[in-house]
């Protein structure tokens, strides 16, 4: 069973121009997929379709083997969590603990189990010391980690990150990215991350490039980012490590195109 299967999916906000055009995509269970592309490429629309906040114009969406319909929407959402872009506008509780509890309350988890689940989930995102903190006293990165804890409390199978780091400062970005990687490695949760951050996309197992509502490329980060023609046509940025590797190659240093600084330095050491 695949985590998410999209078949010939199209969507339009106004009924005229299609924001997504005949998208077919399979996301295997336990994988980490990054969806990249410019604003307006349809990335966020895709996320809202998968979680059932929007309805497709045509095509089907299967989540964990079930085709999304009005009837099973609530059941499907038990297994799928989403972290949105704006840290403030998804913080519902008045404290960290209350916010993590919100999903548990909605899913009628017994009161006596809540405290334990809240503490465990907060610990996973390193927010244990902040259970009674109010959102005004938290940084954007901390709020996003609380949002992740709120989802982890539901033990989901799939987590969608919808530009969750784009409003954060670099520290916040780094801490959330670190969290995403940990989740994928340790718990085998399927991750779908919609992002502008190429450093983050480089840590995914798969990258999907969306351009004007269609899939322009799909593959491993190495495959996609080394497709020079595509990257320059879409004017997409490269991960810094790869950019550096390419610059060094151009100067005649014989190294592979690697994705990050650590790999780059390792490769250079071997050439010493």
């Amino acid at each position: 069973m695949e985590a998410i299967e999209l078949e010939h999916l199209s969507f339009s906000y106004d009924g005229q121009t299609d924001v997504l055009k005949d998208i077919s995509l399979t996301i295997p269970k336990g994988s980490y997929t990054a969806i990249v592309g410019h604003n307006g490429s349809g990335k966020s629309t895709l996320a809202k379709l998968i979680i059932g906040l929007l309805e497709p114009k045509s095509g089907t969406i299967k989540v964990l083997g079930q085709t999304l319909t009005d009837h099973n929407l609530k059941a499907v959402r038990d297994h799928v969590g989403i972290v949105f872009q704006n840290p403030d506008n998804q913080f519902i509780g008045s404290t960290v603990a209350d916010d993590i509890a919100f999903g548990l309350e909605n899913h009628c988890v017994p009161t006596k189990d809540m405290q334990r689940i809240i503490e465990e989930s907060a610990a996973k995102v390193s927010m244990s010391d902040y259970l009674n903190a109010e959102p005004t006293n938290l940084s954007g990165g901390q709020k996003q980690r609380v949002a992740i804890a709120g989802i982890l409390a539901m033990s989901p199978e799939i987590i969608i990150f919808d530009e969750s780091t784009s409003m954060l400062d670099p520290q916040g970005k780094a801490s959330v990215n670190e969290q995403i990687r940990k989740l994928n490695e340790a718990k085998n949760i399927t991750i779908l991350s919609i992002t502008h951050d190429m450093e983050e996309a480089a840590q995914a197992s798969n990258v999907v490039v969306l351009d004007q509502g269609t899939i322009a490329a799909i593959g491993t980060p190495a495959d996609v980012f080394q497709n020079d023609a595509l990257m320059s046509r879409l004017r997409l940025d490269l991960p810094f490590g790869l950019k550096a590797a390419k610059a060094f190659q151009a100067h005649g240093i014989e190294i592979d195109a690697v994705m990050n600084n650590a790999q780059l330095v390792e490769a250079l050491c071997q050439l010493k």
Binding site: L53, K74, D88, S94, G103
Partner: protein
Amino acid sequence: MNNIALGRYLPLNTIINKMDPRSKILILLVMMITVFLPAGFIGYVPILIFIATALYFSKLKLTYALRALKPMIWMFIFLLVINVLVMRTGTLLISWGWFKVYSDAFSQTAYIIIRLTLMIILCTVLTATTKPLDLTLGIEKLLKPFEKIGLPAHVIAMMISIALRFIPTLIDETNRIMNAQASRGVDLENGTMTEKIRAVLSLIVPLFVSAFDRADQLADAMEARGYDPSATRTRYKVLKMTNVDYFAMAFALVVFATDLVLCWI
């Protein structure tokens, strides 16, 4: 914005902070009725004893609780002037031709000022010692019996708690927009009427646009997390009354009963 004492929670962790919000709300209601009982000036003595006790245990300074009165001083003076001009009962104090001042002008004004002051102190004690969310939870639980007659207690409580949750966010936003427009030369104090209307619009329109944006995103986030206003939910916070609550409620009732008796004699 930062000088408003009324309605702000102070995390002082006193015995009153730990009380059940339900008993605090009920006590506030009882005390408000008591304040308005026509028990004469002597009737305020038991109320003052109650307030002094509450202030002592909540570790609030009287000056802090009275801060909220500051903006009302002009209203009080205005009230006094009106009363002096219209009151025609009580003892005649001054008589200069048509200008006559009767004693009731002062006593009636004093009543109003005392009542308002007492209510504000009581409300300040409640909000300073009760987290907004606990307050909402208390209101929800107290309204629960009315659900049978179709009052959506849970929805009301959810609306209040979201409103409370977003007040600081919206205050920040208002400050930012005010600063942004001030940087574009907006001056709320000087200028013609049309300029002032434009200036106010330049604050209100962006604030509404952003508030609607937030509401939209918040609704998505709540739905994605499985919120359904018509469904039953379990609750994380459970309220529990202790002996302190029972004692405080008994105290409030004693004050109420004393003043009730004072009304008759």
